[in-house]
Symmetry: C2
Subunit: 506 residues, 2 copies
């Protein structure tokens, strides 16, 4: 195992910078199946049987009424949905739609084959090496919006942590202000009842300078809809599906079905349940507003059957993602999948679980991969350091999306002739022409040798990651904003706050 | 993002143990291409042009004579190989062959589609949290053999670390004794000249109780042949190819071609060189003994063009693996690929690089994945802790090789009917029948929640990995051995040692 001489190229002729588009990604990885096509069809059929014969509990009267009018059988809170109704909704749900961000360069074409990453989301806690583990605050929320904004490979803003120090009746103002003024990527809106949702829509509409018609013509924000597995759609989730569909905004439907806990212990069983709940939710959007944008989704992993603790980035999680991908292709919709880790610190376990889960998403052909950076403790904490170390992997995946040339200049017979046997290519013309932009440059990876690394203070990846997120926050780069609209947003929030805000519904 | 109740199943009816075959793996992952088929054909053609027009420097006179007799043009130390000669060697090189280990259960069928893992190999240093980083010793070598033996997912024994405290003239005795008496997996032999190789063959032959004819009829050991890129085959490597071919033992041919250093800076250029060197080496084995077992191989990654430091687990490494896989399929031989990391400690960078490189190998369709566990510092150190944390990933990959059922019992309509909306499946009949064996159980992963994990001492993955490798060494499990043969081996080594051993050739 030999190693060639290590020398720096003799001249630095230009200041060329490597430029790879991390925004417009298409998934280049071949899709993997875990089940045969006929067993996927059997799961789809079984899901339809679940909806028709076992039914789904829908806690919101308005939603039950929508289902009833469309021909579903409604008994008390139970809704029994027939196959025709599901089939019809799959015909009107759009395969492709545009999500408009704060600038056209950050817009997203949501469709099968596209690839979007989101950092970890929904964590009650934040952690970092400087400030320790604590309940998430408004400051944490804002900082994670800034970090999300700073990396092209993160395409949408999720609610990374819950800003627990902001009163619930004012939290949606705070979250919208942070997302609109610190970033220009697609913002997230919690489905916590119509009042908060409608006010969030208003803030986005006005900040983007849109009419109601313009607002509804494209998607300008998204929500995540978690069913209450098994087979329950609660009030705020059902209301969210209706409100978002009615106003042309995106619902990402995500049953959270841990095998052995809120779902059967088998991959096939858990996916049958998840698929049934997703189909019911998609149907509700299409009954509300045919053609409304909606993403199929799943989040199926397993639990430790000794303790009941959830696990992520496991073989079962990977297999569930593959099965979900097959079902998503069957219904031919853009869809969301998730990585994740149950580790308690950003160590080798944390890195390995998140990346293993990520490959499951990638080979499943996911359109949106959530929790792809920073998620610890099965989502109870997001780590600033893990955000950075996971971003390295996402950037490397994004590099794989770019085309690699193998034309005659790349095959480089001239360079091969130029360098003598046992020589080296450091100074070859072919090398000199390319060395500044040939390779991906690591974000947090340190490739220096052990001696140099020791001299520089033996910093591990977490130490280096700390410096990176601190630098991003210090630099405090803001998107170009219309100061008038910022002022109007602040006025709106002040007025609404004075009026008491809007409480969440449950 | 809700989480279901966490309860342990009410009864533990049986003591069923999950059993998944980690030995007989077939690669289940779809193969990915980085270049179009016609550009792969162009690379193959360019490699043949390199061999014919630029030639390869062969330092061993015997090897040059073999090439000359077969029709190659030889000028001084340069050998110019025509296409017909390469084509003929690819016709006789076997697509599939059997490697016999110490017990039939550990034999390997080496062929495209099979999947074998090796830990990191060839490191001058060893490191662990208890004893620190130090030059590799005989004790380290023996301990890594024991760890390799302990995990079914490791299929072959490589020279994990160099036992630097053992004199060079006796080192092959020491390494063979460790491999034969501490393990029963396929052993490795360094190609450090005919005397050491022939003595190693003798030791294996007699320890396995074989005649010369039996020994040559199957492969009982393997060597790694690194060309001296660019375009040089040195004395011990050329001699190794000849000696192993002559005795029916496996050469794994591996040009080590770092882009921008000992190879062109482009993936296509580096692979053109690597492929040419591999083809020349394969040709030498087939000219020596048509039908001799040989593996195609590559190890192509990039360097940091600022410092010249090698990098692994990068996008360029991944792409190079994919291109190598396409070339391996073109020549239709079993082939070796490699993961790896340039990190200096077992942190998130180390985990991410090794796993990223691993996925490159897997999606490239590699038969043998070397350096898949433990490798740090670009191969200058193997870490006991990283060995364990990487093994977790390999075991999870092995789990993906097993078939997953989606029959009606797995789809579980009965279980779905049994559990009410918003209920849980912990106690469902379907769960109770399966919970003990349903899921992969982690080796080093800890899924306990933050409170429990803190109470138990806040151990990170490295802390837990330390306990695991220590336990393996304490348990000191040995394979069943024929004491007479062990005695004969020791006598042989004592006699040869007394006679002065055998010096390596260079």
């Amino acid at each position: 195992m030999r190693r060639g001489g290590r020398r720096r190229p003799r001249t630095a002729a230009s200041d060329a910078v490597r430029k790879v588009d991390y925004h417009n990604l298409r998934n280049p990885f071949p899709q993997m199946k875990v089940f045969s096509d006929d067993r996927i069809a059997a799961i789809h059929d079984a899901s339809l049987t679940v909806l028709r014969d076992l039914g789904i509990k829908v806690l919101l009267p308005e939603a039950r009424e929508i289902f009833r009018k469309a021909g579903a059988r409604v008994v008390g809170e139970m809704v029994y949905i027939n196959r025709d109704l599901v089939d019809a909704s799959l015909l009107t749900a759009p395969r492709s739609f545009r999500c408009k961000a704060g600038t056209r360069a950050k817009d997203l074409n949501m469709e099968p084959g596209a690839l979007f990453f989101q950092p970890g989301a929904g964590a009650p806690h934040a952690t970092d090496l400087k400030r320790g583990r604590r309940p998430g605050t408004g400051q944490d929320f804002r900082e994670f919006v800034q970090i999300t904004q700073a990396f092209d490979v993160l395409h949408m803003i999720p609610p990374v942590v819950e800003p627990q120090d902001i009163p619930m009746n004012l939290r949606h103002y705070f979250m919208m202000d942070a997302q609109l003024t610190l970033a220009n990527k697609l913002p997230f809106v919690f489905s916590r009842g119509t009042p908060q949702v409608m006010e969030s829509f208003e803030m986005i509409r006005d900040f983007r300078g849109l009419s109601d018609v313009d607002f509804a013509a494209d998607s300008h924000c998204y929500t995540i809809i978690n069913t209450n597995s098994p087979r329950t759609l609660d009030v705020p989730m059902a209301q969210g599906l209706i409100d978002f569909a009615r106003h042309g905004q995106v619902s990402i439907v995500t049953p959270f079905t841990l095998m052995g806990a809120m779902a059967p212990i088998t991959v096939a069983g858990a996916l049958t349940l998840s698929h049934a709940e997703a189909l019911a939710s998609i149907a509700l959007t299409q009954l509300t507003n045919p053609g409304a944008p909606v993403c199929y989704g799943t989040f199926t992993s397993n639990v430790d059957m000794k303790s009941g603790a959830p696990a992520f980035g496991t073989p079962e999680h990977f297999k569930a993602s593959l099965a979900a991908g097959q079902l998503a292709r069957l219904v031919d919709l853009p869809w969301r999948c998730a990585a994740g880790s149950a580790a308690n610190v950003n160590d080798a376990q944390a890195a390995n679980e998140t990346q293993f889960g990520l490959w499951g998403c990638l080979m499943a052909g996911a359109t949106v991969v959530i929790h792809s950076a920073g998620w610890l403790e099965g989502g109870l904490t997001v780590s600033f350091e893990k955000m950075i170390t996971d971003l390295e992997v996402l950037q490397m995946v994004a590099e794989m999306c770019a085309e690699t040339s193998a034309d005659d200049a790349e095959i480089a017979l001239d360079a091969l002739a130029e360098v003598a046997p046992s020589g080296h290519f450091f100074g070859a013309t072919h090398t000199m022409e390319r060395y500044q932009t040939a390779f991906y440059e690591p974000l947090v990876g340190d490739w220096s040798n052990f001696g140099t690394w020791t001299e520089r203070g033996s910093q591990n990846a977490n130490d280096r990651a700390t410096a990176i997120w601190q630098r991003i926050l210090e630099e405090d780069q803001r998107p170009d904003l219309d100061t008038e609209r910022v002022g109007a947003l602040q006025d709106y929030i002040a007025l609404r706050t004075e009026a008491g805000g809007a409480n969440p519904e449950s």
